[in-house]
C-alpha cells in the first residue's frame, strides 16, 4: 500500500472505552438504585408531580424568574456601564449599589421591601418643597408579587452587573479602538461591538445566574407567595412525605434547567460565529486533540 494512501485514523484509545464503560455503569447504577429503593416512593412522586398546586407553583416560579431576570439583566448592563464611567461619582454610586445589593441576603431584602411600611408608614410621592403630591398607602402598593419582583430584580441586577463587567473585560482593546476609529457613538459601540463580543464569556455565567434565580425565587415564600418549592413544602407539611415531595420539586427544577440548556447552547453558537469553525474551546491542539483520550 502506498504510504500516501494510508488513511489517517481516529484512534479510540483504551481510555475512551473505559470511559464509555464507566459512563454506562454510572447511569445504570443510579437507575437501578432509583428504581429498586422503595424509600423514594415513586408512586407519591407521580401522584404529586402534576398536582394543581405544584403546577401553579411551577408557573409562578417561571414567571418570577423570567421577569426578574429580564429586568435585572437590563438594569445590570446599565450599572456595568456606569461602573466603568469616566465620571468618578457615577462609578462610586454604581459600585455602592453592587456592594450593597450583593452584600445583603435576598431574604433580608425581600422582607425589607415587603415591610417597608413598618419603617416608612407613609411615603409622600410628589414634588419636593411644594404641596403637590399625595400620600401613598405603602402596604397597598407593595403587594407580595410587587415586593418579590422589586427585591429579586434589584438583587439580580447587582450580580448581572458584575458578570457583564467581566464580559466587557474580555473584549480586546483593538476592537474598541476599531469602533472608535469608525466614529461609532458610545451606544452603537456598546450594542454592536462590545456586547456581541462579550457574549461568549457572559452566557455561561448568565446561565448560572438564571438557574440560580429559579431557586432563589423560593425565598418569596416568606411573603406568602407559593412558588414551586413552597407548594411542595405546603404539601409535605401536611402529609409528611418529605422526601418524595422534595423529589417532585427537584425533578421540576431539573426539567426547567434542562429546558434552558438547549436555547443556551443555541445562543452560544450564535455568538461564537466567526471564531474558527464555531466549535467549543479548542483546549486541545487540532492534531493530537481530536484523536486521543486523556
Amino acid at each position: 500500500m502506498d504510504a500516501t494512501e494510508k488513511p489517517r485514523v481516529r484512534r479510540r484509545s483504551a481510555v475512551e472505552y473505559v470511559m464509555w464503560a464507566l459512563c454506562v455503569l454510572v447511569f445504570l447504577a443510579i437507575a437501578y438504585s432509583l428504581v429498586t429503593n422503595p424509600r423514594y416512593e415513586w408512586d407519591v412522586v407521580a401522584e404529586y408531580f402534576t398536582a394543581e398546586t405544584v403546577i401553579d407553583g411551577v408557573l409562578l416560579t417561571i414567571m418570577l424568574t423570567f421577569v426578574t431576570m429580564f429586568l435585572g439583566t437590563v438594569l445590570g448592563i446599565v450599572i456595568a456601564v456606569l461602573r466603568s464611567s469616566p465620571v468618578m461619582p457615577v462609578r462610586v454610586l454604581a459600585g455602592a449599589y453592587i456592594s450593597f445589593f450583593r452584600g445583603t441576603p435576598v431574604l433580608v431584602q425581600l422582607i425589607f421591601w415587603f415591610n417597608v411600611a413598618a419603617l416608612y408608614p407613609d411615603i409622600n410621592i410628589g414634588i419636593p418643597f411644594t404641596d403637590i403630591g399625595s400620600e401613598v398607602d405603602v402596604n397597598a402598593l407593595m403587594t407580595p408579587i410587587v415586593a418579590a419582583t422589586v427585591g429579586l430584580t434589584l438583587n439580580q441586577a447587582a450580580y448581572m452587573a458584575e458578570i457583564v463587567r467581566g464580559g466587557f473585560n474580555s473584549v480586546p482593546k483593538g476592537q474598541i479602538e476599531s469602533a472608535d476609529a469608525l466614529g461609532m457613538s458610545e451606544w452603537t459601540k456598546l450594542r454592536k461591538v462590545i456586547i456581541p463580543q462579550s457574549m461568549p464569556t457572559v452566557i455561561p455565567a448568565t446561565g448560572n445566574q438564571l438557574i440560580g434565580q429559579f431557586k432563589e425565587t423560593s425565598l418569596v415564600s416568606v411573603l406568602g407567595v407559593a412558588d414551586l418549592l413552597q407548594s411542595v413544602q405546603l404539601i409535605y407539611s401536611r402529609t409528611y412525605e418529605t422526601i418524595p415531595l422534595l423529589i417532585v420539586a427537584a425533578l421540576w427544577y431539573l426539567v426547567m434547567t434542562l429546558a434552558l440548556g438547549y436555547p443556551q447552547s443555541l445562543i452560544e453558537k450564535h455568538y461564537s460565529k466567526g471564531t474558527r469553525a464555531g466549535t467549543p474551546v479548542p483546549l486541545e491542539p487540532a492534531l493530537a486533540g481530536a484523536e486521543e483520550g486523556r
Binding site: 479602538e177 476599531s178 472608535d180 476609529a181 469608525l182 466614529g183 458610545e186
Partner: protein, 274 residues
C-alpha cells in the same frame, strides 16, 4: 540596532507654512506624547495638504504608529497643536487653554478620519461584507442595501470578490488586511491613516492596493502611511517623514529625501534597504 534616542536633533522645517487649513489637511506643531516616563513623540511637526500622500518611515519603535494613533485621537497628545481637517482634534481652543470636546463631537470628527490598523482589528463576529458595511450602516446610517452594494464593490476593488461571507478567522493575513482597507475606505474620509497597510500583502497585491490608493489621492483624499516598504514610498509618496526615537529627522519631498538624504541617520537607514 540603534534605538537609543539621538538627542541633538537638528531643527526640521516643515516644507510648508502653517495654516488652519481645510478638509483634508493635517497640521501639527511640537506634538509631544509620553507613556509614563517614556517619551514616544517629541516636538513633531506636520503639514499635510489636501490630497497629499505622506509616508512615515523609520526604525521599529520610532513612534510611527503612535503618531497615527494621535492623529485619530486614540491616544491624546500631551502638548502641541494638532489640527485635522482644519479643526483642533478632540479639543477646542479658548484664549488660555484647550477644552475637550464632547464625545459626540469627537465621534463626528472621526468619521472624517479613516484608519487601517497594523493588526487589522477586524470585528471577528462579522463577515467580511459586514465588516466593510459596519461604518456605513452604524455610523453614517446608510440603508443596508445601498451599503452592501458599496461594500461589495470595494471588496472587489481589493480583489476579494467571493470572500464576502467569510469570517475574519477563516481568512489569510493578506485577505484580512484588504478587508481592513476596504472598511476604512467605505467611510470615504478626507484623511486616511494607514499603519503598514501592505505588511501582509504579496508584491502583486501591493501593486494593486497602491493603485487603489493613488486613485483615491487623485480624487483628493489625504493619506498618511506608516510603512517599511521603501519601494512603496518611492512610488506613491508626495512627502516623506523619516522618524527616529520619536523625533522627526528629515521631512520633505519624498523622492528628494529618498534620493538625497541630508541627515546621516537617514542615509544610514536607507543604505540598509535590500
Amino acid at each position: 540596532m540603534n534605538e537609543s534616542a539621538t538627542k541633538q536633533q537638528p531643527t526640521v522645517e516643515p516644507p510648508q507654512a502653517a495654516t488652519k487649513g481645510g478638509l483634508g489637511t493635517v497640521y501639527g506643531r511640537q506634538l509631544v506624547k509620553s507613556f509614563g516616563h517614556r517619551t514616544v513623540l517629541q516636538d513633531v511637526d506636520l503639514d499635510i495638504k489636501s490630497g497629499e500622500i505622506c509616508c512615515l518611515i523609520g526604525p521599529s519603535g520610532s513612534g510611527k504608529s503612535t503618531l497615527l494613533r494621535c492623529i485619530n485621537g486614540l491616544e491624546k497628545v500631551d502638548s502641541g497643536i494638532l489640527r485635522v481637517n482644519g479643526e483642533d482634534l478632540g479639543y477646542e481652543e479658548t484664549e488660555t487653554q484647550y477644552r475637550p470636546l464632547s464625545k459626540k463631537q469627537v465621534a463626528a470628527q472621526r468619521t472624517q478620519i479613516g484608519m487601517v490598523f497594523q493588526h487589522f482589528n477586524l470585528f471577528p463576529n462579522m463577515t467580511a461584507l459586514h465588516n466593510v458595511m459596519s461604518g456605513l450602516v452604524l455610523v453614517k446610517r446608510v440603508k443596508k442595501q445601498a451599503a452592501a452594494e458599496h461594500a461589495r464593490s470595494l471588496l472587489q476593488q481589493v480583489g476579494l470578490d467571493g470572500h464576502e461571507n467569510h469570517y475574519p478567522s477563516a481568512m489569510s493575513g493578506g485577505q484580512q488586511q484588504r478587508v481592513a482597507i476596504a472598511r476604512a475606505l467605505a467611510m470615504d474620509p478626507s484623511v486616511m491613516l494607514f499603519d503598514e497597510p501592505t505588511s501582509a500583502l504579496d508584491p502583486e497585491l501591493v501593486g494593486e492596493v497602491l493603485g487603489v490608493m493613488q486613485q483615491l489621492a487623485e480624487k483628493g483624499m489625504t493619506m498618511l502611511v506608516a510603512t517599511h516598504e521603501m519601494g512603496f514610498a518611492r512610488e506613491v509618496a508626495d512627502s516623506l517623514m523619516f522618524m527616529c526615537a520619536g523625533r522627526t529627522v528629515e521631512y520633505g519631498d519624498a523622492r528628494e529625501v529618498l534620493a538625497h538624504p541630508k541627515e546621516e541617520r537617514t542615509q544610514q537607514f536607507l543604505e540598509k534597504v535590500l
